[in-house]
Subunit: 414 residues, 2 copies
């Protein structure tokens, strides 16, 4: 079973947006055992849509299309599909009522353009878009499936999960795809490859190995396509165990989810609570946790103490420490973590204070210098780390590092 | 002049990474007047690489390929290209010396795999990769250009900028592409389209209009391909000026301007300060401001008061109000804004309290219900708004709406 993802929109071709839709669709298809053989992005152009659809249908059983379903004239996907299928359009009363209700709740009048969103090709099955005004569409031709979804990421995501995947699973007899990733750190890619050459050579041909270098880590992914999932997952586990014995000091762990998801699970399981005091990360750590459903069970309070006064008055950081050591210092990081832990009553607290740039650096504390602290029921740890030179990079790396430090501190706590 | 971007790597097709390389390459090509007609991602597969290359060469003068140049066995792009061009490989001493020097600086031995990185197809021009070990390669055939670049974003970016773009500009006589974006806020896409219908109809045919809806904003992009850039840029400016006169209250700015950037400018100019008290937006408002360079001049403090205790003890919200009206209510939103304004000493404060979901909704206050408040030196305003049904959507929309409310309140303040 093969699939192609076709994303439509001039904004993709001119680099105005990052296409994350195809990433999410690729994950869904892979998880269900559908091998994605190509991802292709094209413009809002009738001829190109038809050509790409015809070409990709030759190589795949399923083509998932996103984009071009808005109410305005530049969006032509729906019309183009109806023409290609040679069918007329019908007015879907259910879609119309839904769009009207959605707009009414936001105080927006239902106009002709919105009415146009309820027009769908006669030959399609409507996929109900509970979260938006453009319906998804399911087509079949010559035992192949073509799905058209709106380009708004969360609408697309809900439709993939709730409508498309259940139908694909019911429609086709799907085999399984297995991907497992092991993370190594401390060996450059070429040295790692040398160190594990014999292990790599002994891999059975249906296990495909990929090296994915990252700054500071090389991930090793084993993939198997259209197999008996359970059996292959066991096989991969054994192979990874051999690898762990071969290079024990370099194996960091297995990539499953994000570190904040890992912390989220740990805190939820332990029924422990969290608070954050952020200076240079400016609310990013809090927002990464609060983006996760269920965060309110453990996330009590975050303080973005950007000014020294906020550090002192809200978190109780000692003015003399700021004066003597500077706001970006170990004592201040420690007092921030302990302060937010105290005022919130949380079990764990994480704090950051650093220089995000582009201004504010000095020879002793250049842009990118960040002090981190984690306060637990039994102790406070503090670390200093250089997190890059670009403001966005510093915020991103510092947030990730802080959450990693928090994870380690929680794991060590009995 | 047309171009295609071909990104190679199984990790893209399984959704393990987000392909940002093609975004950056698309921007470079567009800026130089090369129309990107397709972006295509395929696996590390010899047959697929050859087929896609041959196909995309038919539609474009330039094909930029990234990925598959690492030292390990899963990377096959270089070998495949050499085979396709029918040429042998040569050992490039300059590349070898550079790789050896780079590795030595990190204390890594130069092994056979690294030596392999200095092997390049005889028919290519090497593009020196100052930041990595895999060289870029420039090929020509039948007056078309094929460029192969490493997939590491940082290395690819430097090669595009320093090596590829200057050569493309020298090699081809390029026309220009103009993209200009105007940002509106406050009108839904369909209402905006209705309001500007006459303006849209009067656009000359070579100006292509696109609607790009975002939570809280709709961007309008005008694009013109292969034109006299200066003349068209002036034309677009005039068209946007007409639009500004048509809907003055809804125009936020141009290009990538966001509402937070507008508030950032307003506060910086007025030397006024800001604080935020966030419940359902969980730090997102703070992080949007603190992501901007110079935010420390006005952003004093943010409080993510997720728990009722944090609302009471940190912000001074009255326990009786929470009890009587609930945490998601007008009195609580007002007290949060006033509370964070008081403890931080800021001139302006914004507050959100709502139900992000998926749990916590009720018939009276369903998921997506958010109360907003803005406190200024002279008054506090509060508004309730329905912000959607999906957690990410609610957080995103509520953050955008809160920042818009803040902008309006600052603008009205003398």
């Amino acid at each position: 079973m093969k699939g192609t993802i076709l994303t439509i929109g001039d904004e993709i071709l001119i680099g105005q947006i990052v296409d994350t839709n195809s990433v999410s669709i690729a994950r869904h298809l892979n998880a269900a055992g559908i091998v994605v053989c190509e991802k292709c992005s094209i413009g809002d152009d009738r001829r190109q849509i038809v050509q790409s659809l015809e070409r990709t249908l030759q190589q795949s059983n399923v083509v998932i299309i996103t984009g071009g379903l808005g109410p305005t004239k530049d969006d032509i996907t729906k019309k183009t599909l109806a023409e290609w299928f040679g069918c007329g359009m019908r007015y879907d009363e259910t879609v119309a009522a839904h769009v009207e209700r959605m707009l009414a709740s936001r105080g927006i009048a239902f106009n002709d353009l919105n009415r146009g969103q309820a027009l769908v090709p006669e030959c399609c099955t409507v996929l109900f878009n509970a979260h938006g005004t453009a319906p998804g569409m399911w087509f079949e031709r010559d035992s192949k499936v073509i799905v058209s979804l709106p380009g708004v990421p969360f609408e697309m995501e809900h439709l993939m999960q709730d409508e498309v995947m259940p139908r694909l699973k019911a429609r086709f007899d799907l085999k399984q795809i297995v991907h497992r990733t092991l993370i190594t750190a401390g060996l450059a890619e070429s040295m790692l490859a040398e160190a594990i050459a014999s292990w790599e050579e002994a891999l059975p041909p249906y296990l495909k190995l990929a090296y994915l270098p990252n700054p500071g880590a090389v991930r090793l992914r084993l993939s198997a396509y259209e197999v008996d999932g359970k059996q292959v997952a066991r096989e991969i586990e054994e192979r990874f165990e051999q690898l762990r014995q071969l290079i024990p000091q370099y194996v960091v762990g297995y990539e499953t989810a994000t570190v904040q998801e890992q912390v989220h699970r740990m805190l939820t399981e332990r029924r422990a609570t969290l608070a954050a005091a952020e200076s240079c990360t400016g609310g990013t750590i809090a927002s990464r946790f609060t983006a996760l459903a269920g965060a309110s069970a453990y996330f009590l309070c975050g303080v973005v103490s950007y000014s020294n006064e906020a550090k002192q008055h809200v978190l109780g950081v000692d003015a003399a420490s700021i004066e003597h050591y500077g706001a970006v210092s170990e004592p201040v990081a420690r007092q921030m973590a302990e302060g937010v832990r105290r005022i919130s009553g949380a079990d764990y607290a994480v704090a950051t204070t650093g220089i995000a740039g582009p201004m504010g650096g000095s020879p002793e504390k250049p842009v990118g210098t960040v002090w981190f602290a984690v306060a637990t029921p039994t102790r406070t740890v503090a670390v200093c780390k250089q997190c890059g030179t670009d403001r966005g990079q510093v915020i991103d790396r510092a947030s990730a590092f802080a959450i990693g430090l928090l994870r380690d501190a929680i794991a060590e706590e009995k």
